[in-house]
Amino acid sequence: MLEFDFSPLVESWRFLALGLSVTLGLSAAVIVSSTVLGVLVGVGRVYGPRWLRLALTFYVDSMRAVPVLVVLIWTFFAFPLAFGVTLPPLAAAFAALTVHVGSYVSEIVRGGIESVRAGQMRAALALGMTTSQAIRQVILPQAAIRMLPPYASIVTMTIKETAVSAVIAVPEFMRSSEVVSSQSLRPLEVYTVALVVYFLLMFPVARGVDRIYRRLAHLGRS
């Protein structure tokens, strides 16, 4: 039975904190961009012309089929070959995660929109609104509230997926943990702490969104 020694973690706390801040920053950026992408794709899949719906469906289903790890490494290596531009690891991770998470967001957006009763669209149109006014003013705000609980899972999923970007050496928390573990030769301690840190990061997000949702739910119930 071995003793645990957490001192390398304590000594490297600044380095780890830097990694954590990259994790948080990357997660936040990916959440924002994939939300924008997801809303566009989701709205396109519900209201778009047929060819667009087919194309977007193909994109979404492909993303659901392929592990994020593969998307990530592929983006990192294929992008320079295809476009002749190298992407630094952070940018590659941002792009790959946005494309991947965005497809999941779009599914939620689509579900949210479709769960709003058809009568709401009719009521808006009956007032003389155009379809796009109705979508923006009536359908999306309600869909947004209904989307909150699954959206919380998306946020936690995003945080988890940023951890995978360690494979292309994005200097986020997982990667800093790897560096500290490999130089201090204390992987067990480091990864145990990482497990706890990730939990502490995600749990409040999930609970917090849940609480907000409970307060807002009635505004989305038509």
Binding site: L2, T86, P89, A169, E178, P187
Partner: protein, 252 residues
Amino acid sequence: QEPPAPGQSPRIDNIRKSGVLRVGMLANPPWLFENTTGGSQRWEGPAWVLVNEYAKRLGVKIQEVAVSNDTKIPVLPTNQVDLTLAPVAETPERLAVVDFVLYSKQSLCMFGLASNERFAKAKSIDDLNDPSVTVAYLVGAAQEPWVKERFAKAKQRGQITSNVVPVDEIIARRADAAPVNTFAWIALSRKVKGLAVLPKENNCQDSNEKSQPVGLAVNKNEDVYRDWLRKVADGMSGPLRTEELRVINDKM
């Protein structure tokens, strides 16, 4: 050594034009040590000294590109970096894809838990080549082909990670023995108690197992560029050795 004149190496011309030298970084002490505990300097070690010399002579800045065990070689053919500074050992497999600029060497030892019967009863590294023994190695590292050949009779476990030493495999008794280079062993034995090493003589420092040169890697077929890098490295062998010893003594 003056860098080759313009027109001789497109790579050097590009580096000069962009003003940056793109360098793939991954810690691997003692050659490249990453400071994770604060302090003024992020990187130390002979590799870092060497790359600074390159940058100075070319009159450009260093642009760090983080790499992992999975990406340190492939970033070269895909032209994401101008050189991979992350210390890499020269192997025949790698030589098919990249060229090396060598400035050091390493040998391997095998370590295990002192309390592990299968490891404790082995007198020499050869005794580990036995069906009852499980040997761990790092997938994608230079040790991989060596382990597969040297311990052909043993059970093998390849670990996919950016670790330098598969110490978790040993501590968790997932494997009985694993390779470690002579320098890392010094640090390992100091930091993790209860380990033992083979060969036992002189705490494994004289091991000749899998002696192989270590250095940095560049894309293949860029001979002018590579040759200039090699000349500079050869000219600095003294200072590089000193820095290597300093890191071993101070940092590991």
